[in-house]
């Protein structure tokens, strides 16, 4: 495999991702509808109708259903979503390159 050392670094990054859920609070301007109501006092009309919610993913916010409660269990879910997400992203890149290159893969 090309760049095998770099792939190992990525694997290590994935294992370290629970460090990323220690920080309290979320990103500014990325609240869900309840968060908006809390800060604005109401939910803007257009936001309510077009916000996601109807199509909520089971892995919302990098959590795995059932893996919650302790930091350890939550962290395990984070690592699983990190590996899944990074893996799918890497495969997508290969797929795009294959389409772009009409099947020639190096």
């Amino acid at each position: 495999m090309k760049y095998h050392k770099a792939w190992i670094v990525l694997l290590m990054l994935a294992i370290l991702t629970p460090l990323g859920i220690i920080a309290a609070g979320g990103a500014w301007g990325e609240w869900d509808l309840d968060g908006v109501r809390e800060r604005v006092g109401f939910v803007p009309e257009g936001m309510r109708s077009s916000a996601s919610g109807a199509t909520e993913s089971p892995l919302e916010e990098y959590t795995v259903p059932g893996l919650d409660g302790s930091f350890f269990r939550k962290g395990l879910g984070t690592i699983m979503t990190a590996m899944l997400g990074a893996g799918v992203t890497a495969l997508l890149a290969f797929a795009v390159a294959r389409i772009a290159g009409h099947g020639r893969i190096s």
Partner: protein
């Protein structure tokens, strides 16, 4: 910095798809070129890297969190067009699988984090690098400065996009229809924490990896290998 769905009006979100579409096409063309040079594995690697880096949330002043995005580093390694592709793929997976960002907002998010941030950072890097080669201190500092400038410009851009929504779309009585805060709120809320903390994180990431790779793998930066000509 990932704008979720619902924060931008459908018109704004659509406009960003229209704006970003030709950039994606150019990016795809560059990917096709890099393919001939056997760099598909690198594109794949950098896409996964972008996804992972954005999972490391750090606390910001004001009780919120932020993260580095890695776009400038990717641009330094593989060029701004490859960075757009890598970051777009990461953003798409984040939106589709993990509810981070949005599907309607993907055009805007790709423009902010995948196009403007890497391009601005790459420009600063090239400007400051001068004749410095990989492994030189100036090379790493230029990379760090690129990361710092890139993420801050992107943060400002997001703040402007969010802050313009209540101006563009409101009820006759002024009640906002989408993102509710005005520019006077969004700009300090987005930009100040990025100037202080998230920008530093991006600078350390970009400068640190560029320094390490410049020292131990300078061949990565040789003409014709990675950086686009």
């Amino acid at each position: 910095m990932h704008i979720p769905d619902g924060y931008l009006s459908p018109q704004t979100a659509g406009a960003f798809y229209v704006l970003t579409a030709p950039l994606w096409a150019l990016s795809l063309r560059s990917v096709r070129r890099s393919l001939r040079r056997g760099r598909v594995a690198l594109l794949s690697l950098l896409s996964a890297f972008s996804f992972l880096v954005m999972m490391f949330n750090i606390p910001l002043p004001g009780g919120t969190t932020g993260h580095a995005a890695g776009g400038v580093l990717i641009a330094i390694l593989a060029g701004p067009w490859a960075a757009l592709m890598a970051v777009t793929l990461a953003l798409a997976v984040q939106a589709l699988f993990f509810g981070d960002g949005g599907i309607l907002a993907l055009g805007a998010n790709a423009f902010n984090i995948g196009f403007v941030m890497p391009l601005a950072g790459y420009f600063v890097f090239r400007l400051l690098k001068g004749a410095a080669g990989p492994g030189d201190r100036r090379f790493a500092i230029a990379a760090a400065a690129g990361g710092y400038v890139g993420i801050n410009i992107a943060a400002l851009l997001v703040a402007v996009e969010l802050g313009l929504q209540p101006v563009l779309h409101h009820l006759p009585d002024g009640t906002p229809l989408y993102a509710p805060f005005a520019l006077g709120v969004t700009i300090p809320a987005m930009v100040l924490p990025h100037l202080v903390i998230a920008g530093a994180a991006e600078a350390i990431l970009t400068g640190g990896v560029a320094a390490f790779l410049g020292r131990y793998h300078p061949e990565l930066f040789e003409k014709g290998s990675f950086t686009p000509r």
